[in-house]
Every structure is written in C-alpha cells, then in structure tokens.
Symmetry: C2
Subunit: 250 residues, 2 copies
C-alpha cells in the first residue's frame, strides 16, 4: 500500500519518484537548498526539510516550525527530477504564472509515497456568508422594520454585503464583518456611501457596519463619519439539530 525508503541513495530516490510521480503523494525529507524565482525571489540555504509533492502537482516545503510552508509551488506545477553529481535535483516550473522552484538534495533521510483515498466533503459553518444568511432571514437582528433588498450588490467601488430599506423608506448600506473590523472596513463603507450619493444626487442613505464585535476606535471613526454600527453574534445550526454561538467554546 504505502512505500517507504530510509536513507536511500540519490539514484534510488530518482527511480522511486519517477515511478510514483502523479500516481501517489510523495514525501521527501532531507537536507536540501530551495531557490524560488517568480512572484518574488528567495533562497533557502542548506537544511533539513519535509517536502510533499501532491498528485495535483503542488509542492509544499515545510520547516520544523510554523503552520506555513517556507516554499511551495501551486497546483498544476510541472516537475522534473534528476541526479547530478550525487545530488538529487527537483526542478519545478509553472509557466502560466511564470514561476520556478529548484530543490537540491544533498541527502534524503526519508522517502515515502501515499495513496490517500479521500472523497468526503468537509462541512464548515461560521463563515461571513452564514452570518449574512442569518441577517437576511431575520433582518430585525439589525433593527425593526428593516427590509433586505439585495445581497452582494455590485458598485464601482466594490460590492456591498447587503442593501436594505429601513422602516422610513431610507436606503441602508450594510457591511458585514465576521472578524473585528479595522479602519479599512470603514473606508470601504464610506466609499460605497459616497458612490451611492454621487449616483443618486446626494440622496439620504445610511451606512451600518455589522460585526460580532466593533472595536472602540472603529466606533468613533464610524460616528465621526455619520455611520452606524451593530454588534451581532450569529447562532449556527448543526445537522444534529444543535445550536451554538460562534463565541461559545466547547
């Protein structure tokens, strides 16, 4: 099922990866250098890393710490393997995005291939879209009498999350943030509003920033610019019928 080498020679590595490439996920751990040229330029001097080569052509280089790979290539990358002067070489190139990565292995400690049979779909709730869903279903969480007119309304300055009409018939632009917003969210809202007024001859329009928590600084900024804010923590439903707030920890 799974195939493994411990401390293989460069030739053994070459034979192995040539046989397994794009058939299985390949794992190579060893002492190497990594050079990248494309969207930026980087060089990683000699050291021991773990490399994954997936069947979709993406390459991921991990160091001993951190969630993020130190180097990588996106899915669709073309790989060429070679042995030169006892070094095991991996040339990665993606022409469409014009980028390239080269790894030179001085030594390979672990070499393995895996066939991961994995077709299940991950369920995921608690995203901003779930939050918007809830506001659409129950607009009163923002304020009584609010009527949602449109979702994801396109404007020249970007798209706004919700466009609504309040109980007095005044249009309302609503920007929803799942995470505590910064000044940037206010700028975004302001741009929408200015744009709306521009296009509608200085019509009266309200702007609301909605998030589970709105930092004090942002509140001040909103108030200064004549906008409003709402704090709203959504409640999520699960397949088992349970409900849970996003800020509950279990």
């Amino acid at each position: 099922m799974d195939r493994i080498f411990l401390a293989p020679s460069s030739d053994e590595v070459f034979d192995f990866v040539s046989r397994e490439h794009r058939q299985r996920m390949i794992i190579v751990a060893g002492m190497c250098t990594v050079e990248y040229r494309g969207r930026a330029f980087s060089f990683l001097p000699l050291g021991e890393r773990l490399v994954m080569v997936k069947q979709d052509g993406c390459v991921i280089v991990h160091r001993s710490r951190g969630r993020e790979p130190v180097n990588w290539m996106p899915p669709g990358t073309r790989l060429d393997y070679a042995v030169d002067d006892q070094l095991f070489l991996v040339h990665c190139e993606k022409r469409s995005s014009r980028e390239k990565m080269v790894m030179e292995f001085v030594e390979v400690n672990l070499l393995a291939s895996l066939l991961l049979n994995d077709s299940g779909q991950q369920s995921l709730v608690g995203l901003e879209s779930d939050m918007v869903d809830q506001i659409v279903e129950q607009p009163h969480v923002l304020e009584d009498g609010l009527r949602i007119v449109r979702r994801e309304k396109q404007t020249i300055s970007g798209s706004i999350d919700l466009f609504a009409i309040d109980r007095d018939g005044v249009p309302v632009v609503v920007e929803v943030k799942r995470n505590p917003p910064g000044a940037q969210a206010v700028s975004q809202l302001e741009a929408y509003i200015l744009d709306f007024r521009e296009k509608n001859r200085r019509a009266v329009v309200r702007g609301i920033l909605c998030a589970p928590r709105v930092p004090r600084m942002v509140r001040t900024l909103l108030t200064d610019k004549g906008f409003e804010w709402r704090e709203f923590t959504p409640i999520f439903e699960f397949e088992d019928g349970g409900q849970r707030r996003l800020d509950e920890f279990i």
Copy 2:
C-alpha cells in the same frame, strides 16, 4: 535517526507519539475523521489524510490535493493522545484562542518522526517593502523633484506608505501596492486624503497610487476622484551582484 512504522496498531501509535511528541516532528497518515470547533465549526468525514505535528505544537492536516491544509491548529496547541475502542485519538486544544480539534484514526498506514536540523535563514526579495525602498532611494521614478518626507506615516484611517512634497511644495500621499490594486486601494487612498484635508483645513494635497500594473477600472476610479497613478516595476539586486526585474521570468 528517523523512525518509522508501517501499519502500526493503535497501541503502537500511542506509544510512538507519546515518546516522540515535541521531541521530533511526527507524521501520521491514515484513515480518520477531523472535527474543529473554535473560530468556526467544521467536520470532515472518514477519509485518508496526512497529518504533521510539529515541535512548536502546530498541527497540519493535508488531503490528497491542494496547497492548503483542510484542517489545522496554530503553534502553541496542546495535544493529548489516547486509544479508545481500537481508535487512536488526538485531542488538540488551544485555550488562548479557544479552539479545539479532534482527530479519530480508524487506521494508521504510516507513522514516522523526523528531527529536522534547519537553522539557515531564508533570503527573500521582491516584497512591497523592497519596492518602497527603491522609491525612497530614487523618488524620480515617481516624478522629478519629488522629496520623500516620511515613510509609514500613521493616520486615523490607517498608515500610508509614503508622504512626500512635490517640486511645487504640494504635499503628496503615496500608496504603494506590490500587486495590481483593486478599488479597495483607492478607498484606502481616499480615506487618507479626506483625513488629511479634514485635519489641515482643506489643504491642497495630491494622491498617487503606485503599482507595477494599475488595472483600467482602477485608473478610471482614481481619475474620477482626482487622484493619480504610476506604473513602476522595481529592479532587485542580489548578493551575487545581479539585477532582475520582478516581471522577468527565468
């Protein structure tokens, strides 16, 4: 050096990880479910995945495709291993960020530990800061007679990349983007400008958006709002003395 098990029993897995935990990076490949509760809620049904547990306490779950892990826990996560009813269980919890991940292994195909000796520093050029460096050194790439006054100037609406004075003594706000900017970058610039005028009694001030490429739509938006744009592709120098433009592919 590196330690490996093929198709170990749950008890063997438990003994192995208990011994290696935080001593070496641990790799577990096998059939499992993954549940996450924290910043969101997710469930991944039974399937074969590759899991890395690093010494800094981060956990990374990879599927057969894609650069991104399907599940993960950040550095600093506390792990508990257990065997229950032939299942190998991994409980991951990070109290500071109130999140939790649970993996249940029905079967483990590959189990390994790695001691990655890796101390070298990665060099990386081509970032936005490198681009700003170049403008500071040679302001004429933006326009003749421009004098850079400040870098990373703080404003209430965020920080601006460069603050300068043009040949006529008019203040200039410069926003630098490494990647093609969107409408958001214009909003950001606009917020700075509005803020500046507010604080300086409607003083005359110019706004420039500088990027290697400025999309047509963004140009229009900038022009509408009375701002300017510059296209500027930086040239990077390497330790070997070579120079290269970021848009050159080799």
